[in-house]
């Protein structure tokens, strides 16, 4: 199972992680190894099998849509690398 360097670059872009050229080649190789490892799964017959994403069987666990004021806002914002007036500060988007 081969992955092109171009595809690896594309995945890196989607993952929002910067790689050096040398790293890209290393990760391309790792990805190929992992995909080779899991390749056998493709041949398992799964016609009419429902995909499983939760094991508890719980469905739609609701709570009342009550609001209350938060006591953790300040502590959460304290972990921001850059804040302004209680907002996360980011680089220009537009």
């Amino acid at each position: 199972m081969t992955i092109s360097l171009e595809e690896t670059k594309n995945i890196a872009n989607l993952s929002r992680i910067a790689f050096t050229d040398e790293e890209l080649i290393r990760f391309q190789s790792s990805l190929e190894k992992i995909l080779a490892y899991v390749d056998e799964l493709k041949s398992i017959p799964t016609h009419n099998v429902e995909p499983l994403s939760t094991v508890t069987g719980l469905v739609n666990v609701f709570r009342k849509d009550d609001t209350h004021s938060s006591t953790v806002t300040e502590a959460i914002l304290a972990n921001a690398p850059q804040l302004k007036d209680g907002y996360y500060k980011v680089k220009t988007i537009l």
Partner: protein, 494 residues
């Protein structure tokens, strides 16, 4: 008084009869930790001031009239995935090196309401990605039985702490082997709950459909006390089961009537022969205690790790997207635009294994590959679950090894993207099915990797969904009949 390696019931007695205060007990452990942690690298952060506050609070409670909860005044360590308010929480990653948790995980709050005393945060593989702690940004933890060997992972700091006598018990998490395997490798007792038994609120997420907070301790009896303290439905985690939970530490009289299944696929080629021997001996003990033993077959076992190698990174890639260089402390100062902030901060903050899992997950979830990989993996996952449900119509519990080998030397995992998937092959299938598991010591075996040293072997029990009491019962009577769990490593010296 030597207080290391005393079980919770012994400490409870000393505290309740006022032979010892929680403050003295806490001070004892900090002294020991400061002496030995440089050798073990089990702890990343110590929270002394907070611990002394909690210990004094526990002593006040003990000195007031009335009974004391089992964990009142008992010190413990928490894997550094559990948010602990006001205390540094890193997930063993550079990207969270300076992160201060804004609130407590539910499990931390539950332990605090029992007056247990948090000593500090233990090392792990970065974001729990691994089976040895070698992917930690802060270096690997060491196995107290042999400092050149891994303590297992990802909860390796927790297992090292308990096995090293640096905490009576420790919080840990398991997604695919991360409690059972390290417990096995360090001769400690590990409980991986049924998925949904324990709240994940405030636990840094790895794979949300698999993560299970649990505990590592010195005996099954101690695991029962911790299970009672941390289990239960939580309004803040809608994946928790709504059962009323109370486990008993009462030792059953015998195992008569218990049907034990031994799955033939859990003795793979490459399993160390010494491990195999110890497991068969442990199974014979169950038979001696009255259980009936049957060989069973779980043919889909070999696909477990393959399914996990797709499902886990997929969920990881989603969960780790939040580390954007904007909200969680680390931001690259090389960034010139927003795109850079994401890409450079994440490149700087994440280790190789985290990047590998994010990349793998992103690939298999991307358009054109989703059906072939992720959806197919989820279908095989259902087949694996169905296979377990079928086998539990014939037997009540499965018995096997927790790990195919004893602890390997540190350095074995390096740059091997498949290391964890192979190390955890005996744990992953039951994790995928959300089943409860227990690992308890059953003696030593000779390593076939590196020096021929004798290292602990873990006996694994896997139960049907929500049936932890069956596992606890077997463990309790096993530990009444044997004393493998009382073996501790040689004292460490600087």
């Amino acid at each position: 008084m030597n207080l290391a390696y005393k079980e919770i019931s012994e400490l409870r007695e000393l505290l309740d009869t006022k032979h010892l205060s929680s403050l003295e007990l806490t001070q004892y452990f900090f002294k020991r930790i400061k002496e030995l942690n440089p050798l073990l690298n089990a702890y990343l952060t110590l929270s002394e001031e907070h611990a002394y506050y909690l210990a004094k609070r526990a002593d006040d409670f003990i000195n007031s009239p009335g009974n004391n909860p089992w964990l009142c005044g008992i010190p413990y360590a928490a894997k550094d995935l559990f948010l602990t308010k006001g205390i540094r929480t890193t997930a063993a990653s550079k990207i969270l090196d300076k992160y201060i948790a804004p609130y407590n995980a539910t499990v931390i709050n539950k332990l605090e309401s029992q007056y247990a005393v948090l000593l500090g945060k233990t090392n792990l593989d970065e974001f729990a990605h691994g089976s040895s702690t070698e992917t930690s940004a802060y270096g690997a933890s060491k196995n107290p039985w042999n400092l050149s060997r891994i303590p297992g992972g990802s909860s390796g700091g927790s297992s090292s702490a308990v096995a090293g006598g640096l905490a009576p018990f420790a919080l840990a998490t398991e997604t695919g082997g991360s409690i059972r395997q390290p417990a096995s490798l360090t001769g400690t007792c590990g409980w991986k709950p049924t998925y949904g038994r324990v709240s994940r609120y405030g636990v840094i997420a790895m794979a949300s459909s698999l993560d299970c907070p649990g505990t590592i301790a010195l005996s099954v009896k101690d695991l029962v006390y911790t299970a009672n303290a941390i289990s239960g439905q939580d309004a803040k985690d809608s994946t928790t089961g709504n059962h009323n939970v109370h486990y008993t530490p009462e030792i059953p009289k015998s195992l008569a009537g218990l049907r034990v299944g031994v799955p033939r696929e859990y003795f793979p080629e490459g399993m160390e022969s010494g491990v195999k021997t110890r497991i068969y001996e442990a199974i014979n003990i169950l038979e001696k205690l009255g259980a009936s033993i049957t060989e069973v077959s779980l043919p889909l076992t070999k696909y477990g790790s393959l399914v996990y190698a797709i499902v886990c990174p997929s969920e990881v890639s989603s969960n780790l997207m939040r580390y954007d260089g904007i909200r969680y402390t680390h931001q690259s100062n090389k960034a010139t635009d927003l795109y850079d902030i994401y890409c450079q901060s994440r490149a700087e903050g994440f280790g190789d294994e985290a990047k590998r899992r994010i990349m793998t997950g992103t690939y298999v979830l991307s358009a054109g590959y989703f059906d072939a990989y992720y959806k197919q993996a989820q279908k095989v996952r259902r087949l694996i679950l169905n296979e377990f449900m079928e086998v539990f119509k014939k037997v009540d519990v499965l018995a096997c090894a927790s790990s195919p080998n004893v602890a390997v030397p540190i350095g074995g995992a390096k740059d091997n993207p498949l290391f964890g998937y192979i190390a955890d092959q005996l744990n992953i299938p039951s994790s995928l099915a959300g089943l409860p598991g227990l690992s308890i010591p059953c003696g030593l075996a000779t390593s076939t990797t590196g020096d021929s040293v004798s290292l602990p072997v873990g006996f694994q029990l896997i139960g049907p969904q929500w049936q932890e009491q069956i596992l606890f019962n077997i463990g309790l009577i096993f530990q009444a009949e044997t004393d493998f769990h009382k073996s501790i490593p040689q004292p460490l010296t600087i």
